[in-house]
Symmetry: D2
Subunit: 342 residues, 4 copies
């Protein structure tokens, strides 16, 4: 059985990544692609790397006949996304890749994003899309909110540890290095090759990054009490990949065993042998997460490092994994591409 898929926001990087993944999916067929600013163009004109595929031309999202769509990925910027999704028929299943439905509390949304949410009902309905931890809810959801890519990386490290109570909740520091595609296809000076290559810098230092909203919401819910981690992202001169280094208080053995047990049956999350740490090179282009645990020289302190591809497992791969669950097909479909190395 073939499922009919639409993508709104198909001219950005997460849109292109969805098309790349669905291209080898055995039972999904792309029926409509929308990108209002480039409507009328072929996908190959906007993304020449996809020119070998037979795909519908880009249209506006208003032109899509949703009666023929089983599931719609929405890869629009936040704020636009909530406005568009509010206008889609309530019968169509939706995986949203924006930030609009990640936070359940309208006040939290306003705090982190600055505007009053335009679709609070949908916000209430949406299921948080971190597949491994919301799998059952996602299966029956109509609207799934894709997580932030940094937020996903941090949660793969921290959720099992918070749940198991093996780390000090008040002493969590998360240091990230992010590839540039996470910033999207936007024309900003600091994203130019000449500005970004050959060096690195921190940004959103001191607790201002919006993904902290997700961390606060999820970790506090898990712990049953407020949890506020420290989080500093850095921008690195590479296109794909997030490396998260977590500085934690707890016993390294307990941390390692907790993570190993949590992910023992997860096809996409690999816990490396104790003492080894991952590299973003080794997950590039794939839906895999690699996690490594190392005890610090100071007893009671442990470092956990996780790597994933922000565009894939951190965004479009996660979205596809969720779509598979929502449509009742094999969760791994279209997602077993091996990483592209070197």
């Amino acid at each position: 059985m073939t499922h009919s898929i639409a993508i709104i926001g198909a001219s950005g990087y997460t849109g292109a990544e969805l098309i790349r993944l669905i291209a080898t999916h055995p039972s999904f067929e792309i029926a409509a692609l929308a990108a209002n600013s480039k409507a009328g163009q072929s996908v190959g004109a906007v993304f020449p790397h996809l020119r070998h595929l037979t795909l519908p031309d880009l249209v506006t999202w208003e032109q899509i006949d949703f009666s023929e769509i089983d599931l719609c990925f929405c890869a629009l910027p936040h704020k636009t996304s909530q406005e568009v999704i509010a206008k889609l028929p309530k019968t169509v299943k939706i995986v949203d890749l924006s930030a609009d439905f990640r936070l359940r509390d309208p006040e939290d949304y306003k705090t982190w994003y600055g505007n009053t949410h335009a679709a609070p009902d949908l916000q209430k309905e949406a299921v948080y899309g971190l597949t491994e931890f919301y799998r059952e809810d996602i299966k029956s959801a109509r609207l799934v909110a894709g997580t932030g890519c940094n937020a996903a990386t941090g949660q793969y490290i921290l959720r099992p540890l918070i749940q198991a109570g093996v780390i000090d909740l008040d002493e969590i520091i998360l240091d990230l290095q992010c590839g540039v595609s996470g910033a999207g296809r936007s024309l900003k000076e600091n994203l130019l090759h000449a500005e970004l290559s050959e060096g690195t810098n921190a940004y959103a230092v001191g607790g201002t990054h919006r993904h902290l909203g997700e961390f606060d919401q999820e970790f506090s819910a898990l712990a049953g009490r407020p949890v506020h981690i420290q989080f500093t992202p850095h921008l690195g001169p590479f296109n794909r990949g997030i490396l998260a280094t977590a500085y934690l208080r707890g016993a390294a053995d307990a941390v390692f065993e907790t993570l190993s047990a949590a992910y023992a049956d997860e096809p996409f999350v690999q816990v490396l042998p104790m003492g080894e740490t991952p590299s973003t090179h080794h997950v590039r282009g794939s839906n895999f997460v690699h996690i490594g645990v190392v005890p610090d020289r100071r007893a009671g302190r442990v470092i956990v490092v996780a790597a994933l591809d922000n565009l894939c497992k951190g965004s479009s791969g996660q979205a596809l994994q969720n779509a598979n669950l929502m449509l009742g097909v094999d969760e791994l479909s279209g997602l077993m591409l091996a990483p592209c190395f070197p």
Copy 2:
């Protein structure tokens, strides 16, 4: 029906690329992986990006039971390859990725590689592995010689044009930019990140690059007279990709029409609209070739640019395409991965 596959030389980049591609192949199963210097290790230890796969550990090639192998990829260095293949049972089908069986004439081999060929009978038997042009021979071959990655790129531009007689055979200049993975996983100073990134240089200038042996052999055979092109490769600061810029004499329209006709039914070769030129970014990680034709401002001169991924279409992807033909499975199997961009 599942085919049993062995890879000898599995610890190099082309070996890893074969594993990556076969990982999603519907009817190939990797039965044995040899890498004599790393025998005993797991693939995940040598290539952590493949750690999610269930694969046999690395062995020496002598340990492989070839009675259970349908086809063996040989990804060894040249010279070693001819020695090893000479010792393999004559019943096993082989796709060799080295330079050892590309040149049909033992004298040519000696000229370009410096040593007397150790297996001249096999050299005679081998079919040149440029799939689109040797498809029928490859289907019935036992031993196929993978082409040089630069040689493949140049031939995609030039073979149809030479055959059609639409360019001047004495005035062919081929200028290449090659990604560094073409040099393999070898420890050389000029391949270090600190030496190679952030700049470029020509190498093997003046007609000394060994892939000229292939060009001379193939183009002269096609033309029925000696053809000696000019060829200058450059080493660029990127891992995957070859961009070939050919400076030719002929009518741009005839060149464009000849190429368009030649590749009209080829699933992996895309001729861009007249006047557009390709980018290696848009074929990275895939088996596709993009070709563009542009007339020069001086009448009678035309520039043709081609892009492919040296590790995939230029090497391991080509090898898999040939293996598909040799084993009678769909030529596209395992090869329709879309390019990984950005």
Copy 3:
């Protein structure tokens, strides 16, 4: 004696490079820096790498008191440059880094740049700024037109050879790889790190690049007859550097001797030993040009490769060298920084 310097267009890359070079110049002092869109800001705010310098804040060019300026560098976009320079007092010496005064013929200018020149008198007055070949004229010039960076690279190879008559004037092919800083600090999709890194492509193929206007003008004047070369630039994933590979007809020995003799006394142009070729890595951040000559395997054909830093020798370094001459100071002042490798 200290010379008072102004820079108009100080917020672009060539402006920043001028400041970097002048920072260690023994007798130049920056008296005014203009960047109309960023007037009021400090240089450190716009270019944090210059924050250690004591510099005047950015102003509009209209705010500069030119009665106190000995020489003004103008690093504006073309078209804007001619309009601004036309309004500057005729007493101030000017080195223009734009394309506006490179072509002497108003018709040529219109052909290549599309608009009628707004200051044809100044166009007539301007001296072409390729220092090694216009040194005497530059010394007494009031207005010097900096050359195109690609145009400079090609001319370092070709001018001596054309003048000496040792190559076939109708068979000149120039293939270039250019670093991205040559495109300036402009917000274009193809200049984003995510689009540009990890690959390469040709652009302005077929004879449409504007620097051909300079080649045509200069080579035809030198030869006393029309000379129209073929020229294809490529965009490489590196910030600084141009590598030009010229395919020529002539005797390699004569070519080598001609270049060696031409540059024997030039402090910034180094001809490598016969058979060696240069790398952009080895001129990065400096005012040096490296040139190498290699005979092709086909008699009568020769390849010449040149490397320089587009922002320095190809633009701001050249401009400073010219300013030194115009103000009667040592030509090498401020320009002997060694390349920054690795």
Copy 4:
């Protein structure tokens, strides 16, 4: 007055960087260059970017006539360095760039480096080379031990804060991203462009990096009690630069004021305005350090970020700064090159 300089270990990156810097030093003259493995070669053959300089050919260090040398830089690997320096005449001033004389306690040395120190007397004599904090000792020293590049970066953040008592000494976490030139010109698989570019990874996680020996020694001495920080370096895909992100407990204002006061008169250390953070792009190729302070959202926590160029301020620039002091010349001589951006 001109000072006669020798460099032992001139064929590595720190050796090359010393030559680059000394090339524009007004009163230093390179009298001898040793590189035993490449003795007999010209510098231009080993480092083509230095080919424009008039320099002595490489010799073995045993061939140097030290009676004519005022100061010798020793840029050898650790362990070799202590053996060679022990054999040099006691009259020659030495700046050692290896790790051999950084630790004052022979036991500490053995703990971190594994071998018994071969020159414990020299170890005792050596002055630790972090210029801003040992300036007076360095002026009168005969033997100065260059610091580790990571160790330098961390100390620029932490020394003033420890000394002023404004941070919690038991809660210091230092997270670093290091450019690859810090690993030297060594042929290791993980330093190849194909392995390193386009991604990042942590290494020496958990407190095993040798620069911790320096941190422990220096911070404990400063505090008058044991201080053991947490420290995780990451390897980034860029050649030059270290970015250190320190997670500290203390009042952001006090931290900012302490750092601002400490470096108010230091020519090479720039404290950015409160809330701004630095980038390695903006110190590349220079002797400058940029430091930024940001309060965390959680009261009592503060993040300090520092950036420097590991080859320059972290190694050879520091060495030259120390040599200037030791020879009584202006401390800034040869070191005011502006960063090379982009």
